[in-house]
């Protein structure tokens, strides 16, 4: 890209940079990033192929763009990078190599970004339209824009992932809550049922006690009566009139006790 008027040249460059930067800030995920780079990078630098590796621990985001408009996004691990890339990564020194057969040269830079993340930028260009040294400052800016965006998108992805995890957990929690509610309801109904059974047997028991007390008290009061009257009557009269009645009442009392016991047993059987 040769422009004779330097002012016009800078203007074009500035506009291209603004569009490049604005476009990248608009994209929503990493997969779209290479296509977006492809739209504006050709107005900034001369290249045949553009590779950008964003390295976060062992995981590498690989962006690839070529002059004909092809673009791709992939991920790989650090050891899958080629020897030249490895060399630049290890040394940290920018490097370039030229291939006589294809008449292409490769320039490569390693950048140290925030949060201890690295990036590796490779540009292949043909000798007919070579990468110009004066574009090196632009490369730094391009890295800054790309690394910041990737970092940002990774963060968004992480948050999204965590949100999904949270949503799954929330769903699981709601399901558990429903289970607990169902259990509670079941327990409540069991308690209500048991309480009503208890109330029922309580009232039966009350009835039984009342019945028993009357059943036993009636003959007992007669016996008490006949014992008490002893001092008020002549002995002969007591022996002839009362004593036979006394033994009858004692037998009544015995019968009452037997019946009370039998009723208690019936009640016991009904309850079990």
């Amino acid at each position: 890209m040769e422009v004779s008027n330097p002012y016009l040249g800078y203007k074009i460059l500035f506009e291209a940079m603004v569009k490049f930067s604005a476009g990248i800030s608009m994209i929503k995920n990493l997969e779209e990033l290479p296509l977006e780079i492809n739209l504006h990078l050709k107005y900034l630098i001369n290249f045949q192929e553009f590779n950008y590796y964003f390295i976060k621990e062992n995981k590498v985001d690989c962006l690839w763009v070529n002059q004909t408009g092809k673009a791709s996004y992939s991920t790989c691990s650090l050891d899958q990078l080629d020897a030249f890339a490895q060399q630049v990564l290890e040394s940290g020194v920018p490097a370039s190599k030229y291939c006589k057969v294809s008449k292409t040269s490769i320039h490569s830079w390693k950048f140290y970004n925030e949060n201890n993340h690295f990036s590796l930028l490779l540009i292949r260009s043909h000798s007919d339209n070579p990468f110009a040294d004066k574009s090196i400052p632009l490369i730094k800016v391009v890295n800054k824009i790309l690394s910041a965006r990737i970092e940002n998108l990774n963060m968004v992805q992480l948050i999204h992932f965590q949100n999904q995890k949270l949503a799954r957990l929330t769903t699981a929690l709601q399901a558990k809550n429903k289970e607990i509610e169902a259990l509670n309801r079941k327990q409540e109904s069991t308690i209500i049922e048991k309480t009503s059974r208890l109330k029922d047997s309580n009232s039966k028991l009350k009835g039984l006690i009342q019945f028993n007390s009357h059943q036993l008290r009636e003959p007992l009061t007669r016996v008490i009566d006949m014992v008490a009257i002893k001092d008020d009557l002549p002995v002969e009269e007591y022996i002839s009139d009362i004593l036979p009645l006394l033994s009858e009442s004692v037998l009544d009392l015995d019968r009452a006790i037997i019946e009370v016991v039998q009723r208690s047993e019936v009640f016991d059987n009904e309850e079990n």
């Binding site: 009357h214 008290r217 007669r222 006949m226 009257i229 008020d232 009557l233 009442s249």
Partner: protein
């Protein structure tokens, strides 16, 4: 004075009759172990005092009290029961001719007090 003893237990009637005749000689005592016969005799004999048991089969003491109320038979009644239920005591209060509620057994001194109370207070309701 005519007195009715109404209790399905013959023995109780025998004992109560003995006590009453020990205390006063001028009492004309009628005892009933069948409450239905007592009910029938109420209007013909017109007793002045009734000793009434509550728990009786077929016709209960309550039935007799209700019968008297319906027929407007105003004879003072002393309830003699072996039931210590507070409910019965409160229910008895609703019959204004019931002037005493006594728990069995009632001995000679108990009968004595009741009769004295009956003779002393023309307004028998006060000794309930």
């Amino acid at each position: 004075m005519k007195v009715f003893l109404i209790d399905d237990q013959k023995i109780t009637n025998v004992l109560n009759r003995k006590y009453l005749s020990m205390i006063r000689e001028d009492l004309e005592i009628f005892d009933f172990d069948d409450p239905e016969l007592a009910m029938a005799a109420l209007e013909t004999e017109k007793p002045e005092l009734i000793f009434l048991d509550l728990n009786m089969p077929i016709v209960s003491g309550w039935d007799i009290l209700t019968f008297m109320r319906n027929r407007k038979i105003e004879i003072p009644v002393i309830i003699l029961t072996s039931s210590s239920s507070q409910q019965d005591r409160e229910k008895a209060n609703l019959f204004h001719n019931v002037f005493s509620f006594q728990l069995k057994p009632l001995t000679k001194s108990g009968f004595n007090e009741l009769l004295e109370g009956y003779y002393l207070h023309g307004d028998y309701k006060t000794s309930l």
